[in-house]
Symmetry: C2
Subunit: 213 residues, 2 copies
Amino acid sequence: MTAAAPVPREDGRGGRIRQQQEGAILQAAEQVFARAGFQGATMAEIALRAGLPKSNLHYYFGTKAEVYRAVLGHILRLWLAETDSITPDADPREALGHYIAAKMRLSAERPDASRVFANELLHGAPEIGDYLRGELRALVADKAQVIEGWIAEGRMAPVDPVHLFISLWALTQTYADFETQVCAVLGRTALGPDDYRRATAHVQALVLRGCGL
Amino acid sequence: MTAAAPVPREDGRGGRIRQQQEGAILQAAEQVFARAGFQGATMAEIALRAGLPKSNLHYYFGTKAEVYRAVLGHILRLWLAETDSITPDADPREALGHYIAAKMRLSAERPDASRVFANELLHGAPEIGDYLRGELRALVADKAQVIEGWIAEGRMAPVDPVHLFISLWALTQTYADFETQVCAVLGRTALGPDDYRRATAHVQALVLRGCGL
DNA sequence: TAAAAAATTGACCATATGGTCAGGTTTTTC
DNA sequence: GAAAAACCTGACCATATGGTCAATTTTTTA
């Protein structure tokens, strides 16, 4: 039979072998897309890194766009999380501090994921635009209300909550996305745990003080 | 004679026609590179946007990499400027406020330039790494000393000056580089002058308060 | 253990794209 | 106003790369 329909794909589905191969492919693809962008990435290199021939890669993912979408899907799940600490009766100082630490950890531990995401945004988010205008916007609107509440109660300085989120993302992701530049001005060749500790402390101090906390 | 050596290229050199054509090419290239990245950009599209046949484009710039380097060169000049306001005897509040406003203006007026730069960084700065580790690092080290001075004199809160610069770049460029995401959460289809006014005020307030100013 | 399903693979193809080139035209120079 | 330099261009080529396919092997199922 010629190549069967690559039906399942949705996590948890598919045979044991499919599970493992798709995992390896996605991991390899994240690296390649992070380093080269969508156009620059080649199926050949993804296959090579995943340790299988190109035609086998095409057995699991029909097109490059499909691989890309799958990688983005994974990444979005990481992105969405971590706002749990921001609730009406949480301590603003602690909640924001936690959020910053969590985002910073993501930059440190999954820089490639962050870069693929950044690249997608940089090019106008052709693939995830709907998600941004839907789920993400709703989430931000929700959390913005919480912050407005804190401000109304006089628990922190008046800050535009949506712009605050934009700032938090920018401040934390810059360490992954633009690591080269950060390393250059810090005089490092790579960012180590110590650099990340310092960076986290800096961002927390700047933002918390900036919010009057 | 076959294609003559494209000798000059350094601004100000070359005949009248060359001046104008190279200008048109660079402008077109900035747009194309911003939208598609280096690999995604095609010489055909750059030529189309610049209003000349592809072979003529190759008369001025031998290779795509050459066009890219020229575009980056232009952009770096924009990037370097604007730190003038940061001097030992300036008012910290005013100096940083000015710098933020200037960087914000750059994001608003030259978003494509910012994006090309961001894309280059995102992919490890293969072309401008030396510049970052040389000129930029030196500049930042210099300005960091100024800020250290302000701190020592008790004129602002103690903040790691190098990380502060990283933060300032992140906070301001995010509005150009990730405009799609910003628009999504703000519920806009594009950022207008009003949005930029608000964003500038927000970043200034956050940072100045964050620096105890 | 046999049939069916899933997985694997090398050979192959179509297309897109960066770049070349020879010959022509315009502009500048003296 | 003629020689030289600069500029322009359509046709062409080599290569890289996404994707296909038919044949084969491995795994699962009953």
